[in-house]
């Protein structure tokens, strides 16, 4: 391994690191906060481009043998999620303006994410997970405008810590049984009948369920989503979720799940789908509703693990793309106002089409896509997952999951009903999304339309 390859293989991570260092420098030496947004945008865009180049160039390298490796498809996944972070940064402008802290924390979290996607050992995986998650605990608290925020952050921290503990316990069981920290032990554990291995696998899986907010480990999500500010919620709902799912995907590899893990892997996500969709119906806050919706979506995503090996990567990645784009589109198009608590209320969206037709149409599109209604990309994503589940022979679970997804249609429609069919409440002031948030929503919309029109091409990439 030459030094050059070593450097090249680590370009995305190094670019992010450079971004963080420059941001810290600016924060320390400049009198006024300036250019933080531009710096972080550049760093993330460059990292995404580098990852995309690594992916399309087909570079396979192991800079740290046994701990950290790079291969084309995972580089592509890196590029994809890093690119999804760009709209998050853009739409953060309304809340964080040029706040250097915010950008440093986001970049650190993204650094952890990149580490995850290259992890070959539980050590790197653990580091990645923690580096990704720790800044988010602070982000939830950052710029808090409402009394719930500290409580939300604390809940998130405590439950995240629990997940970490479960993960480490599982890892130590697997390590005890095999004497190695390589993540392939996990896949071997899926096959094994050894009690210690099964216990280790189960604990790790439950830790991931907790991080991805699968019922019954979901209780932290609505509070955290509601308590955080819009960009942070968007970040948690898309990037963090993607990170957790892709980390799980890396552990599972192409290993076909068998009994008894498959029951666990099918049942809890199914409950998540049903419960998330049911609970979302009664929410009054937009972000809480999205939190429950994301609980249901985590269910669909874990469903994909039932499918056979090679299709699994494709399904999860395409779903994350469609789901992430749509969530970001909705968050970027949300009405803006000075009071964070009021602008979050669903009631506040009444008659939005009259005040802000573009925003209403965009949120409407996002809602329909999240509900899985064609012709939007959410449909193809859902189709891909359920096709894999059914092909793997889990017909009953597939049908139940589809019926569960039907339950979700109502609350997405309710948002559209509020925006288009209800007269505006007199108290609401005219608000439109503008500036960078508008740019973020345009980027998401155009990308989503392209994905909807050429799904074959996008799937061909993975």
């Amino acid at each position: 391994m030459s030094w050059l390859t070593f450097l090249i293989a680590l370009t995305p991570e190094n670019l992010l690191l450079a971004g963080i260092i420059v941001l810290i420098g600016v924060e320390v030496f400049a009198r006024r906060a300036q250019g933080a947004l531009a710096i972080s945008l550049c760093a993330v865009a460059a990292a995404a481009a580098a990852a995309a180049l690594l992916g399309s160039g087909g570079l396979t390298a192991t800079p740290f043998p046994g701990h950290f490796s790079v291969d084309p498809s995972w580089s592509l996944a890196k590029a994809l999620v890093l690119a999804l972070a760009l709209p998050v940064l853009l739409l953060s402008h309304d809340d964080f303006a040029e706040d250097g802290q915010f950008h440093i924390l986001v970049l650190s979290s993204l650094y952890g994410f990149c580490l995850l996607l290259s992890a070959d050992s539980f050590l790197t995986l653990f580091l990645g997970l923690e580096i990704m998650a720790l800044p988010v605990y602070v982000l939830v608290l950052l710029a808090f405008k409402r009394p719930e925020s500290p409580e939300a952050a604390l809940k998130y921290l405590v439950l995240g810590g629990t997940a970490t503990a479960m993960f480490l316990m599982g890892v130590s069981l697997l390590y005890g049984g095999s004497g190695t920290l390589a993540i392939s032990v996990f896949a071997a554990g899926l096959r094994s009948a050894d009690t210690m291995a099964v216990a280790g696998v189960t604990l790790i899986l439950l830790a991931f369920f907790l991080k991805a907010a699968i019922v019954p480990f979901h209780a932290w999500a609505p509070d955290a989503y509601e308590g955080a500010s819009i960009p942070v919620t968007a970040y948690m709902a898309t990037i963090i979720k993607a990170g957790v799912l892709l980390a799980a995907l890396r552990l599972f590899g192409t290993e076909v799940v068998s009994r008894p893990t498959d029951d666990l892997l099918a049942f809890l996500p199914l409950v998540s789908i049903v419960w998330g969709n049911l609970a979302a119906m009664r929410q009054k806050s937009f972000r809480r509703m999205i939190a429950y919706s994301s609980i249901a979506h985590a269910g669909y995503l874990f469903y994909a693990f039932l499918g056979d090996g090679p299709g699994r990567f494709q399904a999860v990645l395409f779903y994350l793309l469609a789901y992430g784009l749509m969530n970001l589109l909705a968050f970027a198009s949300l009405p803006r106002g000075d009071d964070d608590a009021t602008r979050d209320r669903l009631e506040n969206m009444k008659g939005m089409f009259q005040r802000n037709p573009y925003g209403a149409l965009m949120i409407g599109m996002a809602m329909l896509s999240l509900a899985g209604i064609p012709p939007f990309p959410g449909f193809v994503a859902k189709f891909l997952i359920f096709r894999n589940v059914m092909t793997a022979g889990y017909t009953a679970y597939a049908v139940l999951g589809l019926v569960g997804s039907y339950l979700g249609i109502y609350f997405y429609l309710r948002v559209i009903q509020f925006m288009f069919m209800t007269a505006p409440t007199p108290a609401t002031s005219p608000q439109t999304s503008r500036g960078l948030a508008l740019g973020a929503s345009l980027i998401c919309m155009v990308t989503a339309l392209l994905v909807a029109i050429f799904p074959g091409w996008v799937i061909g990439l993975f």
Partner: protein, 512 residues
């Protein structure tokens, strides 16, 4: 240039229309209306051209386009015209400009969004008809829900939100089960033949045992039956019709309901022939129940929109009866009946809309003796009423007569073999014709004749725009009634194929 390109142009004209509308400022409502109208007219002319050039002597697809879309799954963008869809495509394109013109004065709120939604639903409906790939079909099928949801929900009556959510949730439930069935069907095709394809033509080769066919037909059938609607899955329809704006009702009754019967004809029955034959007594019973139950409910309504809504249930029951008779005459009658109902129901809903715009009530008891106050209106109304009843020389006669003929022809030999049930059902269906005359004449009698009364005095008779719209519909009604030979010839090969496919399954592995 009557080739495949023209069909693509017809299909994508509404999308071009939406783009055009984006360029027009929301305030110039007049421009928006006329742009929409003329795009629709162009679409109709192009479709008429396709119809003229459609060769009745060629079986299978004409004007076909087939491009890879998601190659990894064997999904192709495949569209084409055949005997199944040619008349329905023509009907959809014919009603397009009429719907737009009919809404000129009725829709004054969010005009731009409204016409964009009309374009979108036109696109989705045409796409559903011409799609020859199950994935593409499903995409269009589901897309139809969105514009209809908005049309009822934004421009509808007082209980519009209840009605539109009911409509959406009802139809989406069917679609979800259909999606599961689609995935399973494609998967079993792959498992049995090794071919990964969504093409209708390939899917017919999936060798499915009877129990699987029954489950899949139930899933597809539920989705289609909700759309038709077949009793007892019809309860969304009266609400949707009553609350929808006129344009919404016209689209709903004119084209959208045919999606269900078209689905049965193109997909449900031919894909699962063994299950269809196995379930045919049940399907036939439900069809006859729909005919009679819909007619009985229409008889007792006081809301004029509800009368036509329930009459739709009854009329579409005939379509189902014709299809399940598996007799060539019955099948062709069913196709004609679909078009005929599309024309008469659309016309009647337009007329109800016209009187509602003037008087703002749909109570039947509020009206009387319109023949004296609104002579032109009454003439058109009477013609459409008689067409709906099925008077000879109108399209309604051609459709219902052929369906009943087919039903009797199919059930008579069974009766001789000792199975009298189908004959009893066919005979009961005739009762529907009597009931149909009863409720429509009751409607016309208290509406047009008797002591003159209107809730809103004075009432102006039809203006030129309205006369032209209705004249177009009436002309089509007579054309189909007096000269059904041409449309029958264009659909004959498809009807034969359908009959052969469903009544004699070529599958080696199938039972019964």
């Amino acid at each position: 240039m009557a080739d495949a390109t023209l069909l693509n142009v017809v299909l994508f004209l509404p999308v071009a229309g939406i783009v055009l509308l984006l360029l027009v400022p929301a305030r110039s409502e007049g421009a928006i209306r006329w742009v929409t109208f003329w795009v629709m007219v162009v679409q109709f002319v192009a479709t008429a051209l396709l119809y003229v050039h459609y060769d009745p002597a060629v079986a299978g697809l004409q004007f076909e386009t087939r491009l890879p879309w998601i190659p990894a799954w064997g999904v192709y963008y495949q569209i084409g015209l055949d005997g199944y869809n040619i008349l329905l495509v023509l009907l959809t394109a014919f009603l397009g400009p009429l719907v737009v013109a009919g809404a000129f004065t009725a829709i004054t709120k969010d005009v731009k969004l409204f016409y964009a939604m009309v374009f979108l639903i036109q696109f989705a409906m045409l796409g559903t008809f011409v799609a020859q790939d199950l994935f593409v079909f499903y995409l269009f099928w589901e897309t139809m829900l969105i514009p209809m949801f908005l049309i009822i929900g934004i421009w509808g009556g007082e209980r519009r939100i209840y009605a539109t959510i009911k409509f959406f949730l009802y139809t989406a439930f069917g679609s979800i089960l259909m999606l599961a069935a689609v995935i399973y069907l494609v998967y079993s095709l792959q498992a049995t033949t090794g071919v990964t394809s969504f093409a209708f033509a390939d899917l017919q080769h999936a060798q499915l045992p009877l129990p699987v066919q029954l489950v899949l037909l139930s899933a597809f059938g539920l989705s289609f039956a909700i759309k038709v609607p077949i009793v007892p899955l019809h309860t969304w329809l009266p609400d949707a019709h009553v609350e929808a704006p006129t344009a919404g009702s016209v689209i709903l009754a004119g084209v959208l309901l045919k999606m269900g019967t078209y689905g049965f004809m193109k997909l449900g029955f031919p894909l699962f022939p063994d299950a269809t034959r196995y379930l045919s007594p049940l399907i036939m019973t439900l069809a006859v129940v729909s005919i009679i139950y819909g007619a009985c409910l229409a008889l007792v309504q006081n809301d004029i929109k509800k009368i036509i809504a329930y009459s739709s249930i009854s009329h579409l029951g005939y379509v189902m009866l014709g299809l399940i008779s598996l007799d060539l005459i019955g099948i062709q009658g069913a196709i004609i009946q679909m078009v005929s109902h599309g024309l008469t129901a659309a016309g009647l809903f337009l007329m109800v809309g016209m009187i509602y715009e003037r008087c703002h009530t749909r109570e039947l008891s509020a009206y009387g003796g319109l023949a004296r106050i609104l002579p032109v209106y009454s003439v058109f109304f009477m013609i459409l009423t008689l067409a709906s009843i099925g008077l000879p020389t109108t399209s309604g006669f051609t459709g219902e007569f052929l369906v009943l003929l087919g039903a009797f022809k199919a059930s008579w030999p069974l009766h001789l073999d000792g199975d009298t049930y189908p004959l009893v059902l066919s005979a009961s269906a005739v009762l529907g014709v009597v009931l149909g005359a009863l409720y429509m004449l009751r409607f016309a009698q208290s509406f047009l004749f008797g002591a003159a009364k209107v809730p809103h005095d004075p009432v102006a008779d039809l203006d030129v725009r309205e006369k032209l719209i209705l004249a177009a519909i009436v002309a089509a009604v007579f054309a189909l009634g007096l000269y059904p030979a041409e449309p029958l010839r264009k659909t004959e090969l498809a009807a034969k194929e359908f009959q052969q496919r469903v009544s004699a399954s070529p599958l080696p592995g199938s039972t019964r």
